[in-house]
């Protein structure tokens, strides 16, 4: 069992490491402008030796675009998830730890936010702030916050009832210190695992926003934008969808495999 789980985790780690390397070094390695350079004589060219992954409707090389898109997509996903963690953590922690009316008020608020289509939220944010990468991050980050807050709250609620929290309280530890020393470390693994999974959703959310022309603005490349652009040519140029789709799928797969073993890695018990 252990060996199996470790292999799975290793695959996840290797996948993610590879993707991270591409994100960090890819843009430095490929020729400048390679991802936006157009070849009008080779529009929608299938994969070949000149264009390993084929080209898109404007004759741009998909290999270069997917490499450049890696950084954009991960940048957006990581920042948005970080933002939702930063917003959701105090919200969920306070709600779950103190309970009672604070919990009631905060969770009613979260429920209300959850009832709204995220798309409306994103559309409003983008209409008010304008479409660009930062605002995409804000839109996704804000939309994810209530989900995260809810999960964190549940975890905090569970931990707050543990005897070691009561033990800490009975030995004179203040609420703030209990949250910092006892609750936070114990919910962190769950939060990190959740954040890992949210990353996958954030990558997809960016694609969803591209459906409305929000998200990354062309000619910059992101996986979401590329998938979005492929939707009108799926039948005649499937590679335009397969290339970014595979990138997302591998990342999602990697994140999930990694997420499963992450909890073990973070747990001192498994050391």
């Amino acid at each position: 069992m252990k060996r199996f789980k470790t292999t799975k985790g290793m695959i996840g780690i290797v996948l993610l490491a590879l993707i991270a390397l591409i994100a960090i070094f890819g843009p430095m390695v490929i020729p400048p402008d390679a991802a936006t350079a157009m070849d009008m004589r080779a529009r929608r060219a299938p994969p070949s030796l000149t264009h390993l992954f084929g080209t898109d409707q404007l004759g741009r090389d998909l290999l270069f675009r997917v490499i450049l898109g890696t950084r954009t997509s991960l940048e957006i996903a990581v920042s948005a998830v970080l933002m939702s963690v930063v917003l959701g953590l105090p919200l969920g922690l306070i709600s779950g730890y103190f309970g009672k009316w604070i919990d009631n008020v905060l969770m009613r608020l979260v429920d209300t936010l959850l009832a709204f289509p995220a798309l409306l939220l994103a559309l409003t944010i983008s209409a008010v702030l304008g479409p660009n990468i930062q605002n995409t991050i804000i839109a996704i980050g804000v939309a994810f916050t209530p989900y995260l807050a809810r999960i964190i709250r549940g975890e905090a609620l569970r931990v707050a009832q543990m005897p070691y929290v009561e033990a800490a309280r009975s030995s004179g530890t203040t609420d703030a210190m209990i949250m910092w020393r006892h609750v936070l470390p114990n919910i962190l693994p769950a939060v990190i695992v959740q954040a890992t999974i949210s990353l996958a959703f954030a990558i997809l959310a960016e694609a969803g926003l591209s459906f409305l022309g929000l998200g990354t603005q062309p000619p910059a490349a992101s996986w979401g934008l590329m998938i979005q652009a492929s939707r009108d040519q799926l039948d005649i140029a499937p590679w335009t969808a397969v290339v970014p789709g595979l990138a997302v799928a591998l990342t999602v797969l990697g994140l999930n495999m990694f997420g499963d073993v992450l909890r073990d890695i973070l747990d001192p018990r498994s050391k």
Binding site: P163, A167, G172, P185
Partner: protein, 603 residues
Amino acid sequence: MKDIVSVDHLRVEFATDGGTVVGVEDVSFTIAPGETLCVVGESGSGKSVTSLSLMRLVEFGGGTITAGSLNFERADGSLLDVAAANAQVMGAVRGHEIGMIFQEPMTALNPVFTIERQLTDGLMLHKGLTQAAASARALELLQSVRIPEPERRLKQYPHELSGGMRQRVVIAMAMACDPKLLIADEPTTALDVTIQAEILALINRLKRENGMAVLFITHDMAVVAQMADRVVVMYRGRIVETGSVTQIFENPQEDYTKALLAAVPKLGEMKGKPAPEKMRLIGDEAARAAAAPAKARKPEVLLQVKNLTTRFPVKGGILRRTVAQVHAVEDVSFSLNVGETLALVGESGCGKSSCGRSILRLIEPTSGEVWIGGRDIGALSHADLRRARADMQMVFQDPFASLNPYRRLKDQVAEPILNFGLATGAALDAMVLQLFDRVRLPRDFMNRYPHELSGGQRQRVAIARALAVNPKLIVADEAVSALDVSVQAQVLNLMMELQEDLGLSYLFISHDMAVVERVAHQVGVMYLGRIVEIGPRSAVFDSPQHPYTQSLLSAVPIADPRKRRFGEDLAFKPITSPIFPLGHKPAPSTYTEVTPGHFVLSL
């Protein structure tokens, strides 16, 4: 007569994260028809693995029988090697020819099916009964396990039944097809002592009436003494000793058996002794030497509890208003002297834990006063209370849950010291070091995490943490209940030693009468939130006055096969609910002093 079960050189292996682990090895024993065989051992001894192997249920926990045979004589007289039987045959044997009872009655029943459905599906499967016939048989079964109002129970769901009733249902299920062998895996461990007595008596009766054999798995030597015809003692996956129950208890051959028996407190063995005594530990003569009677102290009151009452609201209705109250602690008064131990005993739900927590104001009492060292705890502000907590510390039941898994032990012991600003830097390290020495933990444990320790070691850390701020009072809430008996003895001895050296006072909350008899100076018996009887240990144990105290003591199994108590059906008065409507004004607790210092609640 031929043996109904004959286990021969059983070996079970588990594939775990760390590779293959041997669960049991070279285990051989037999069970004769109509005989009760007790397999006894501490956690990790392999006793449950053995019983599960006999049902071939061990495979569902990741185990594999890799050697040996498990011969079982079937109803038709043929011999079946369970180890080699296929799934179909096992399906026919399980629940039909072998019945099994498990430890946790609260989770042993499927919460979403009615009692009837759970009782009848086995009958319909094995006996081919129609729904109606199965239902009739189910009712019969419930009657035979003496459940009140059996007709109504059939239509109920498990959560509507009390723990004792659920265990009776589980037994009824196991008995449904008149098995020749009943396997009972720690069937009373999770139950209160009076219910335990009832269930043990029930198993005895059913065994007698049906002439079936019983394989009884337990860790509790007292239960073994009460139930067994023959005993198998197991340790770390191997059999240590096998023999008749009197042989094992009166003339144990192996050191392990001897040590195990020594660590078991026997109810009544303290009769006539003035002060608590440490537990006997084989090979620990030093401890025995130190067990000299505690120095007589001048009585000096440390803790004074006056009319303490704690009620929890029961919310209901649209506006979440309080519609009723749980009277968890009701008008409780007592005092505890410096350097002494007051034990609060009682069954689950009697309010003993709430009482301890109310004293520390971990929950807010509704009314009453708590004086510690001349200070009224109830009147303290939030900040003052935090400071006052240096005087009163708590040790919790579950050593697994009361330590934060993500912090080093050093930091957890140091936390109270930091909270009160008692020391920092090198002085802090020195203090922590000293505390580890004090509770006899190796110093290199300081940098470890809780999971690297055993249960007893963790409880020592918890004690060290409680000691860190030099408290005067320690509330020990079932502090040794989760520990194996030998470890329990060690921790109890440590606590008594600390009491002698530091003059600590303990409020010792426990359900285990035998342990309480050993450690307490004073004993308070709680029932439905009130203390029904309180007084010096010898007075309460030797001449219990309150009927509840009497029934409690009569239900405690004694670790002596010659003092069997559970031959006939027992039925104790069930505990009523402590929930009362909002306006309910309970009568104040008034006591009669029967002998000096021995008070009994007036009826």
